[in-house]
């Protein structure tokens, strides 16, 4: 197991390097001029200003020079300076990372538990009202766009009932997390519920379940040890992949709820061609995604004795 983890960790470096290289060139060949965008407004931009900004950020240098400068800075732990804010990208990312990861963490944890519970209940009571309700909820949750869910929740709980804040971060108060986390989590709950149900239905008809029951084992024991544990493996893969999707979905949810996270930062930075900030966000997203995948693979090996990586 340890050698597997080491091997996977070593693979991270070339993966990131390739990704960051592709991203660097893609971002730099995008139409749009960072000097104009960081200083101009609809009133125009003075030529002097554009010249000064270009010189300050080295935007006049050839692209390969900028690339090597970027890489050498990166290896020294310097993510560069944001064109828009004149602040180091690392400090910009620091507090946004906490806001986003906490939001994703709460949403992922809550929706994994709820999704699996709903799916398991639906699978065990196949054809019942529980099944009907769970699957109805799941189809709705997958079909309805996230921003709409967000706006409806906001209208219901902030405008009508007035017991939750409409948007914002509010210094990190718990009540501020509820609506964005629910909005972010609903599609994951739905997907996990459907996957768990399908997986449970497969496992329920397996011979070993029938054997366990015929041996006279208690229903609780059969369901928790034989059905749940075996049905959980495919769900784990989906949950891991969904965590990545969820990170990407923060772009929409953070926009709707004015959440000060990476999703909001990356959108605003792309719109103004603040390339160092975009690269910083991508680096964080990529590293998080890679480690989630690694974690899922390790969990897989741990949960399923048939899988032996080493």
């Amino acid at each position: 197991m340890i050698s597997y983890i080491t091997r996977r960790l070593l693979q991270v470096i070339p993966t990131l390097l390739v990704l960051l290289t592709i991203m660097f060139f893609l971002l730099n060949i995008l139409p749009g001029d960072a000097a104009i965008l960081s200083g101009a407004s609809r009133k125009g931009a003075g030529e002097e200003m554009i010249k000064n900004i270009r010189a300050k950020w080295g935007l006049g240098d050839p692209i390969h020079i900028r690339y090597f400068k970027y890489l050498s800075n990166l290896f020294r732990g310097n993510l560069g300076t944001s064109y828009r804010t004149h602040s180091p990208v690392s400090s910009l990312l620091a507090n946004k990372l906490v806001a986003t990861l906490t939001l994703v963490g709460i949403a992922a944890l809550g929706s994994t538990i709820l999704g699996i519970l709903l799916g398991f209940a639906a699978g065990m009571r196949h054809g019942s009202y529980t099944d009907l309700f769970s699957m109805g909820f799941a189809i709705l949750g997958i079909s309805v766009p996230r921003f709409w869910i967000g706006l409806m929740l906001m209208y219901l709980f902030a405008v009508i009932f007035r017991f939750l804040p409409a948007s914002g971060f509010g210094g990190g108060g718990v009540s501020f997390y509820i609506l964005p986390a629910v909005t972010l989590g609903i599609p994951m709950v739905s997907l996990l519920a459907r996957t768990t149900r399908a997986s449970v239905l497969d496992v329920v008809s397996e011979d070993y379940v029938r054997t366990a029951r015929s041996k006279g084992l208690s229903e609780y024991f059969v369901q928790s040890k034989h059905i749940f544990r075996n049905a959980f493996l495919p769900v784990l893969t989906i949950a891991g992949l969904q965590m990545g999707t969820m990170l990407a979905n923060t772009v929409v949810v953070e926009k709707v709820f004015s959440w000060p996270g990476l999703g909001n930062l990356i959108v605003n930075s792309i719109l103004r061609r603040d390339i160092p900030a975009v690269q910083g966000c991508i680096l964080i997203f990529a590293v998080t995604f890679i480690f989630i995948n690694l974690f899922v693979d390790v969990m897989y090996a741990y949960l399923d004795p048939r899988i032996r990586y080493d």
């Binding site: 995008l30 139409p31 749009g32 001029d33 104009i36 965008l37 200083g39 101009a40 407004s41 609809r42 009133k43 125009g44 931009a45 003075g46 030529e47 002097e48 200003m49 554009i50 010249k51 000064n52 900004i53 010189a55 300050k56 950020w57 300076t81 944001s82 828009r84 804010t85 004149h86 602040s87 910009l92 507090n95 946004k96 806001a99 706006l151 906001m154 209208y155 902030a158 405008v159 007035r162 804040p165 409409a166 948007s167 914002g168 971060f169 210094g171 926009k255 709707v256 709820f257 004015s258 959440w259 000060p260 996270g261 909001n264 930062l265 605003n268 719109l271 103004r272 061609r273």
Partner: protein, 540 residues
Amino acid sequence: MYKKTFLVFLLVLALSFASFAVFGADEEVRKGGTVNFPAPYQGSITSLDPAHSNRNQSTLVYRAIFDNLVKIDPESLEIVPGVANEWAVSEDGMTYTFYMREGVKFHNGTEVTASDVKYTYERLVDPEVASVAPDLFKFVEGSKAFSNGEAEHISGIEIIDPYTIRIKLTRLQPNFLYNVAGGSNFNAGIVPKEVVEEVGDKFTNNPIGCGPFKFEKWNRGSSVTVTKFEDYYGTGPYLDKIVFKIMSEAPARVAAFRSEQLDFDIVYPSNYAQYKKDVYYSELLVETAELWTRNVTFNMDLEKFQDKSVRQAFNYAIDEDLIIEKLAAGKAYPAAGWLPTSSPAYNPDLEPYGYDPEKAKELMEEAGYTSDNPLKIEIIGGDHPIWGTPMVETIKPYLDKVGFKIKPVLLDGATFEKKVFDGDFDAFIWSNGGEITSLSYMKVFWSETPRASGNFFNYSNPEFDKIIEKAMKETEFEERKKLIQQADAFVKEAAPAWFFNYNKAVGIHQPWVHGVVAAPQDMVYQPLNKLWVAEQSPRS
């Protein structure tokens, strides 16, 4: 009978007192409380250093933290005293002397002196700082030598004594006081020399000014909180705190406003009609014509726009009133020329083109275009419903009927701006302007204004130049106003754009918020030091 009359009299008396207690008491300024104010535009607040952002999101906060030698009254747009309570302009209009108040404090307790002012202006011009407003002091004597690195200071900014500063210009700028006031984006807010020299670019993290509110906290991407500066030299501030909440999504703002979590908001056309119909909310709206002109700009470099008939036909072909009524839900003013109705030099007698499709067809035929042989124009734009490609889709049928063939092209902001600044377009739809003074507003058509600085049309006409250059040298406001009006009429006739409307800026505030004004520069530029909240505010 008498008893009954007496009772009615008593009742009327009691009601009068009660209404005085309710309404009369509100007239008296109340100190304390917090206002939650939105930063409602796209993008975050990127910098709290006035040298580094000219986006309205940041300007909103600069106006709370910083002050200038002179200021712009948000309602009348006139120059009013700031840190300088007096100033003198030499007879030739080339030298300005500012007499500063003594004892004005920065938020860190140090006194504001002329050396801080000089440092602030030099910093804006310094190429190493790469500020967004080097042009504000471009025509000060010695500015060029300083920006080229040939001089250590700008020679034309002279410190006479700690409270007197003199600025010499290299050319006449009748509106120079507006530059001192920081221009449209408040970039000349006075900064403390010693602090900025020590912290450099980190000044944005902990800005210190001499404005009515001092910086407290910046939750990046979420909010900026400022608190009352007790030693403020001017009026107020009355509020204890203002929380600027970054909320670019209109539906989220509407939800927050209706649930009383926001004290103020700007209103978009989609909500305007709703608020207007509502008995409660309609009383809380504040409206004015904003200093922006929505238009389709023609690229005057292109052969296809050389014939004036074509440009005028475009202006005759469209029913602008119907567009305002249906598409903008009444939240716009019809445009006659370039200057909006709030502009000091606006000419109410200037007649718009009006909707005359027959005349448009005639003009197009004169120019050699018919429906069978149309003039093809690609109009680029963003996704704004009023000044973006949705509007181009709306006007396309009107134009196609008279001999044009319009192709709307939707672009993302960055690509769009690059094309606009490079002149790589047939025509584009946008909302241009934003300048406070009428002269700067009209100067975009001057042939010496580069494309990137606002002459996106690349319009050049020697006759127009003569008028605008005369206005630039005129120091008497009334005379200058006449010349600017003449220039506006000239541009209207020359039609280098289709001017279709001026935005009706609309703000809405909660009933407990007082001091809100109709601010034509931008509805969010409220006099923050004069805002106050009544006791009924949930944050009183």
